[in-house]
């Protein structure tokens, strides 16, 4: 325990970086995920194909391969940014594929008749989306999106493998100095567990509020 308190500043800094990575990349993934979903449900075949290609590529590559490619490959063609920014962009792009798929399955879970009925009473596309399709789709995606958020938190640890000093990396650094692995790694594990528990609690509450039992 003492070792954790002694190195609290480093570990705290690492935790802040993990928060930054998680929040920024999840926000980016949400925006990009909506776009991917829009591509995949569009009536235009070329756009659908682009969306499918994006999802297939990003879901079938390990995140670590994408990170390594961005950190060591992209500078070779003159694309270079700060490590934290690079990590955020890569994780956001990766998780966007998963969020896009979760949203798409939410939209598809709404019965076709609902859309037809909305159009039949004269709602425009935007109106039927806003008043009929999205409210029903959102309910089914709360849980999957919550799981993706937790997965994003876990995945940000991979940034440590390419040199971003997040919680995992600072735990490992403190351990190199102090050689007391048990309290240090358990402490880091507990911090991740707390983030996941809070996320699980929030999604549980959200779901209970949104779900209508029929």
């Amino acid at each position: 325990m003492g070792v954790l308190l002694e190195h609290l500043p480093e570990l705290w800094q690492g935790l802040i970086v993990t928060f930054q990575l998680t929040a920024a990349s999840f926000a980016g993934a949400a925006v990009l995920g909506v776009l991917v979903c829009a591509l995949r449900v569009s009536p235009v075949r070329v756009l659908r194909a682009l969306g499918t290609a994006y999802v297939e590529t990003l879901q079938n590559l390990p995140l670590l391969v994408l990170l390594v490619l961005a950190f060591f490959g992209l500078p070779e063609i003159g694309i270079k940014a700060e490590p934290l920014v690079t990590a955020i962009v890569v994780i956001a792009a990766y998780e966007a594929a998963y969020i896009g798929e979760a949203l798409r399955s939410g939209v598809n879970s709404v019965g076709k008749g609902q859309g037809e009925a909305a159009r039949a009473i004269g709602l425009t596309f935007a109106q039927s989306l806003r008043h009929v399709v999205l409210p029903q789709a959102l309910r089914t995606v709360v849980q999957p999106i919550g799981n993706i958020f937790i997965a994003t938190t876990m995945n940000t640890a991979l940034a440590a493998a390419v040199g971003v000093v997040d919680l995992t990396a600072s735990a490992q650094r403190v351990n190199l100095v102090e050689a007391q692995p048990i309290p240090i790694f358990v402490g880091a594990g507990v911090a991740y567990g707390l983030i996941a528990a809070v996320a699980g609690f929030v999604t549980g509450r959200l779901e209970r509020r949104l779900v209508i039992l029929r």
Binding site: Q59, P62, V65, L158
Partner: protein
């Protein structure tokens, strides 16, 4: 065909679709052109920088890496499926002292990043006199984390078998264990097969952590090769391509299994 969002397109919608097709194609082409120009401007398109990947020795080295990836993935998958099954059986057990620990394991491990587990095996265990060979330094953490994921899949499968099946088994005089083994598990196994395959794709992706462990799987082989020939982006792109082909084939298999199951369910 109409969907929840769109009706069968009329003449005006068809015109719009044509316009969007042209614009979408142009945007895609522009992206590719931009990427190629970026490569060319930095001299990464020179034939000499791609030539090595037209030769067998480079591919052989990477395919050796792929073989090690498979080896680690298969061993980790087998171990974590076995461990996961035990955990799932524990979670559906009627005895609280079995159910509690199994549930605790799954809930705790699900929230710990795999990399943190790898660090524990790399840096913590040797201090307590447990210095595993490289292969196991990768396989053990992957097993620990994936066992929890497989356990949840198996549990969902077991719970999806109607309760009447268990009751019927018990009624004809089978013991609880026999009912599970002879009646519930065979039905559950068939239902969870697609999820098992897609979780295994995730496990195969996780083996890229060999990069951290310095176990010679595909990504680490790419790192070694890139350090040797200095072709960073080329090597990592080839590595990514190999992962893509392997994982896309496995994902396709999962989708096929799922489709077959849905057909059988209807029949």
């Amino acid at each position: 065909m109409s969907t929840v969002l769109f009706d069968e397109p009329g003449p005006r919608a068809r015109r719009r679709i044509r316009v969007a097709t042209v614009l979408g194609t142009l945007a895609a082409v522009a992206l590719v052109v931009l990427a190629v120009r970026q490569f060319a401007a930095n001299g990464q398109l020179d034939a000499a920088r791609w030539q090595p990947y037209a030769t067998w020795p480079m591919w052989r080295y990477l395919l050796d890496g792929l073989w090690s990836t498979f080896l680690a993935a298969v061993v980790a998958a087998a171990l974590s499926m076995a461990f996961g099954l035990v955990l799932a059986l524990g979670r559906v057990s009627p005895r609280p002292w079995v159910r509690g620990p199994a549930a605790a394991y799954v809930e705790v491990v699900r929230t710990i990043p795999a990399l943190l587990l790898v660090y524990v095996v790399l840096f913590a265990l040797p201090r307590y006199g447990l210095d595993l060979p490289l292969f196991w330094k990768l396989v053990v953490p992957l097993t620990v984390s994936n066992a929890a994921a497989y356990a949840e899949i198996f549990r969902a499968g077991i719970n999806s078998v109607e309760r009447g099946q268990t009751e019927a088994g018990l009624a004809v005089g089978l013991t609880r264990l026999q009912t599970m083994r002879l009646i519930v598990l065979p039905q559950a196994a068939r239902r969870v097969l697609p999820s098992i395959v897609s979780q295994s794709v995730g496990l195969l992706k996780d083996t890229s952590l060999g990069f951290v462990v310095s176990y010679g799987e595909l990504l680490y082989s790419g790192k070694v090769l890139a350090a040797y020939n200095g072709l960073l982006i080329q090597t990592y792109l080839v590595v990514a391509l190999i992962y893509l082909v392997v994982n896309a084939s496995l994902s396709k298999l999962a989708r096929m299994l799922e489709a077959r199951q849905r057909r059988n369910a209807h029949a």
